[in-house]
């Protein structure tokens, strides 16, 4: 791999990160409403002054606050939360990143398996009963926002039938005799939010996959395969599916970037203690350090991943390097 390629990509990544760090500082300070007044509307002036001093907001935004922010960020210090007094942003984020990763990681996997499978089958048996029913349901699910799906599941399966716990990640204050017990409790709590995420994605994936399969089945090479006398199953598995997968893979990859957007609504409905609920809490109290932390974590993750993907890709496909 050429050194120039590597250097160029690295420079790109560094410039992007620098830009993100800058934007991160500006973005939340441009929001109307200062944290001291949003956090406690009827605090006396002298108290608010003390808070502003403690948070470093009494000094001018530029250069003092900006220099302090850049300096700390470069040293990996994300500061202390305004809202959760005395707790560092790193600790706040650490407690919240796992639930989100789990919920959406598993949700994606489930949706990929079921959605793509359903879509492929519908497309293959076009006009059949599965296609009619499946496609109809997929369209409905596709057009429903997460929170509607979530509320329906919550009211029917949890509040109504009482099968699943309503919210949280583990039963509050439960003691477990074994790890298996704990895992089961966790799964019971995970079931509804996970189903919500999966259902929300399944519609999307299955519609796309169905269209893609139908298109592929009309290709010349499929006709050729049929002419060769291959069985329908063989044609589907070996010729149609692999090619029809391509647009679906694109969609899945793009969806990964939307984890937080989706997280906010689903997590709120089920009280899932992840980054989504954290973002809303932090936004409501203008907790700049936590907001910056979430934003920085996500955007730098994407940039680094992009950088790594570029390198990997350059390694996998020699044409890119030239």
């Amino acid at each position: 791999m050429g050194g120039r390629y590597l250097a160029r990509k690295m420079l790109q990544a560094i410039i992007t990160i620098a830009f993100i760090v800058l934007l991160n500082f500006l973005l939340f300070r441009l929001m109307p409403g200062s944290p001291d007044r949003v956090l406690a509307r009827n605090l006396p002036l002298d108290v608010r002054q003390v808070l502003l001093e403690r948070w470093g907001l009494d000094r001018p935004v530029f250069p003092d606050q900006f220099v302090a922010y850049v300096g700390a960020t470069l040293q990996g210090d994300l500061g202390d939360s305004f809202k959760f007094q005395g707790v560092s942003v790193v600790d706040v984020l650490a407690g919240r990143i796992w639930p989100t990763l789990l919920l959406f990681g598993l949700g994606e996997v489930l949706a990929i398996i079921i959605g793509l499978g359903l879509g492929a089958y519908s497309g293959w048996k076009r006009g059949g009963p599965v296609d009619y029913v499946g496609n109809g349901i997929s369209l409905i699910l596709y057009s429903m926002p997460y929170f509607v799906i979530g509320m329906i599941l919550l009211m029917v399966l949890s509040g109504g039938l009482g099968w699943f716990p309503t919210s949280g990640m583990l039963e509050m204050g439960a003691t477990y005799s074994s790890f298996v017990d704990q895992l089961l409790d966790f799964l019971a709590h995970l079931a509804l939010p996970l189903t919500t995420v999966a259902i929300g994605l399944i519609g999307q994936y299955s519609i796309l996959m169905r269209a893609s399969i139908i298109e592929t089945l009309g290709e010349d090479y499929v006709t050729t395969a049929r002419a060769k006398g291959l069985t329908e199953g063989y044609i589907l598995r070996r010729h149609a599916l692999p090619n029809a997968m391509l647009p679906a893979v694109t969609l899945v990859a793009i969806n990964l970037g939307y984890v937080i957007a989706g997280a906010i609504t689903v997590e709120l409905v089920f009280g899932w203690p992840g980054l989504g609920t954290l973002t809303v809490e932090a936004l409501n109290s203008r907790d700049y350090p936590v907001l910056q932390g979430v934003f920085l974590l996500l955007s730098i993750s994407v940039v680094l991943a992009n950088f790594a993907a570029d390198l990997l890709y350059g390694f996998l496909d020699p044409r890119v390097r030239s």
Binding site: M31, P32, G33, R37, V38, A40, R41, N42, L43, P44, V47, R48, V50, L51, R54, Q85, G86, V90, V92, A94, G95, I97, W98, L101, L102, L106, V109, I112, L116, M155, S158, G159, T166, G168, M169, M172, G173, A174, F179, L183, L241, P242, N243, M245, L246, V249, V252, A253, L256, V269, V280, E281, L297, V302, A305, N306, A308, A309, L312, D317
Partner: protein, 644 residues
């Protein structure tokens, strides 16, 4: 055939998911009774801190009131009852109070609790105030400071003396905790707000917090050393449902919760009909108002759109065009009461109704506007005294849909008066910015006319609500109507320094009438507290105030200690000292809950940095897989096209 990228992604995805599932931080718990009776409470608020000096939300008050004793507690009729102090006397000149602290009282960690702890706590707050230092957010400190205390002493372990600068009974209603000196004395006053006060907490209250998960729940274990009556609950759990009212109600229906605070009005009526459920609508400390920008000076490039808003006669006339009963019925579903004066009926001692209540009468409103010098022009537009048509901007916070409905009604009622209303919902931050005067921030423009918003008062004292209209609140940004009136200011001072609660009544009544007449606010509706609980698990639910209030989220924690087990027929309530329940804090529970996470390889709580890093790496990994898969797929497609 090449294995497709999707297959690989799926395989990797499941592997990652499996790893992640194994890493879920386990919640380890202190040992406790075999079948603990747990009282589970749901609330929409989520605490920001469990350090009492930082308390500002109702749930944060509830938490410290469970953890710690107040010097003097509150009975169900809000009368003083024994708290940290067993009894008290006032000197004949009214300036010196002597409190007796009970012998043998212990903190939850077994250390003796004496008058020195009380002296230290009060002196800590008073000294900080004198030095101009704010403890945390400053609310709690002011209960001590506002009681007029100038010195405090502990001549012996059982005696505490407090001296005040003027005769007052406020020392008997300080909603502030007495803290264990041995835990807190290391904390410098200036930075005490940064102390997290981690669970398990050492206090002398009936229940001690043993585990707090931010945004999720807080758990309390019974304090075996508690001096008072032991309630039937072995454990109290409070679960937080920020922005998730529906979820909280579903959890209550399913029996996951025994008690909930503030479901919506419709949910409340629904739950009320269920068997084994008690639902109580109680008066609350807050209200919703239509406010005016009454700022008396011109601001270049800002300020209200007309001087009419500074005219009490104009504001008064508009009051006749508001059908408050209709708002209460249609917007608030009949919950709460029609708003009148500044001090809501919750404050039974102080609330007065106006002597001359306005009625809903559009024609009368028109007449009053004509008389006040605001005529109609030929096009049916109402003109101000400068001859300009009155087109008013009405703002409201966009976080609660009921404000928008209020605004809609009001705009409809003002239209026949010839006054056009342009209403707009704003982010609360934007709204506070707009309502700022140059006295607070020289750049501020106070660029607004009308607004709808609400206030929530203090549990035991209307002072926070009364302060809204002080002239000094303009410079401290403590007001949203920028109102100023010298007579009001002097009445405030008079009631604030009155020797007894009774002596405050007259000036406070006068202030209410003054504000009602001057009408910087038209108070639309008084809020209500809607509390619902199951009666099959716990019995002997007491309300505060008795018969009309709610059991919890009130002053003190008395009602927690009075609960009995609904299933135990004779229900003997063991009083005081030797309770057999060797459940909580003395032995094994002394090891903190959160600090000993169970068999998980990556405990998220204790090593935040590492867990965060690991999580971030995983996030990056997932994104890499996605991107690589995408790129490969795209390039293969390109290749396919090239080959064609």
């Amino acid at each position: 055939m090449r294995p497709s990228a999707v297959h690989r992604a799926i395989r990797l995805g499941s592997a990652l998911a499996l790893v992640a599932a194994l890493l879920v931080p386990a919640s380890a718990l202190p040992a406790r009774a075999a079948n603990p009776l747990v009282l589970r409470i749901g609330t929409l608020q989520s605490p920001d801190s469990i350090n009492p000096w930082n308390a500002s939300l109702v749930v944060e008050y509830e938490i410290f009131q469970l953890n710690y004793d107040l010097l003097v507690g509150f009975g169900d009729d809000l009368q003083p009852i024994p708290g940290f102090a067993e009894s008290w006397t006032q000197s004949s000149d009214g300036l010196t109070w002597t409190f007796k602290i009970r012998t043998g009282m212990k903190w939850s960690d077994g250390q003796p609790a004496t008058s020195e702890d009380a002296r230290w706590t009060i002196a800590y707050a008073i000294d900080a105030k004198k030095a101009g230092t704010t403890l945390g957010l400053g609310y709690i400190q002011d209960y001590f400071a506002d009681a007029g205390i100038d010195s405090v002493a502990a001549p012996d372990p059982q005696t505490l003396t407090i001296h005040t600068t003027y005769a007052t009974q406020r020392v008997l209603s300080m909603d502030a905790p007495i803290l264990p000196k041995h835990v807190w004395e290391k904390q410098a006053a200036a930075s005490v707000g940064d102390f997290t006060n981690p669970a398990p907490i050492v206090g002398s209250g009936p229940y001690q917090a043993v585990e707090w998960k931010t945004g999720q729940y807080i758990r309390f274990a019974r304090n075996p050393n508690y001096w008072g009556n032991h309630g039937a609950a072995d454990e109290v759990d409070i679960r937080f449902f920020p922005d998730a009212q529906d979820t909280m109600v579903q959890a209550f229906k399913r029996g996951e919760l025994d008690y909930i605070r503030n479901p919506s009005a419709q949910q409340f009526d629904q739950l009320k009909a269920l068997p084994g459920v008690t639902a109580v609508e109680a008066p609350a400390t807050g209200f919703t108002e239509l406010g005016f920008n009454t700022y008396a000076k011109d601001i270049p490039g800002g300020g209200a759109s007309t001087k009419a808003l500074r005219d009490p006669a104009f504001r008064d006339a508009l009051g006749y065009a508001i059908d408050k009963q209709a708002l209460l019925d249609k917007v608030y579903h009949g919950k709460g009461t029609v708003g009148t004066t500044l001090v809501p009926p919750y404050y039974v001692q102080y609330h007065v109704e106006p002597a001359n209540p306005r009625t809903f009468d559009i024609n009368l409103a028109k007449q009053k506007l004509d008389q006040a010098g605001y005529p109609l022009n030929g096009n049916g537009q109402r003109l101000d005294k400068q001859g300009k048509p009155l087109n008013l901007r009405l703002y409201f916070p966009n976080d609660d849909p009921s404000y928008a409905t209020d605004a809609q009604f009001i705009a409809d009622w003002f239209t026949p008066l010839g006054i056009k209303i342009k209403s707009q919902g704003l982010d609360t931050g934007a709204l506070t910015d707009i309502q700022t005067a140059p006295e607070y921030d020289p750049k501020a423009k106070a660029n607004y006319d009308l607004y709808i918003w609400g206030w929530v008062g203090d549990n035991n004292d209307p002072n926070t609500l009364l302060k809204i209209f002080l002239t000094s609140s303009i410079a401290s940004a403590g007001t949203d109507s920028l109102y100023s009136n010298a007579q009001y200011d002097s009445l405030f001072k008079q009631q604030n320094e009155a020797p007894t609660a009774d002596a405050r009544k007259a000036p406070i009544a006068e202030m209410q009438q003054l504000i009602y007449d001057q009408a910087p606010y038209h108070i639309l509706a008084n809020d209500s507290e809607l509390h619902v609980w199951h009666t099959d698990k716990f019995a002997n639910w007491q309300q505060m105030p008795a018969g009309t209030g709610t059991p919890f989220f009130v002053m003190g924690a008395l009602n927690y200690t009075l609960l009995t087990d609904a299933t135990a027929v004779p229900s003997p309530t063991p009083a005081g000292s030797a309770t057999p329940a060797a459940s909580a804090n003395t032995g094994p529970a002394a090891t903190p809950a959160a600090a000993t996470p169970a068999p998980s390889p990556a405990p998220a709580d204790s090593s935040g940095g590492a867990a965060l890093l690991l999580g971030a790496v995983l996030l990056v990994a997932i994104i890499i897989v996605g991107l690589v898969a995408w790129r490969m797929a795209a390039s293969r497609r390109r290749k396919d096209q090239d080959e064609e």
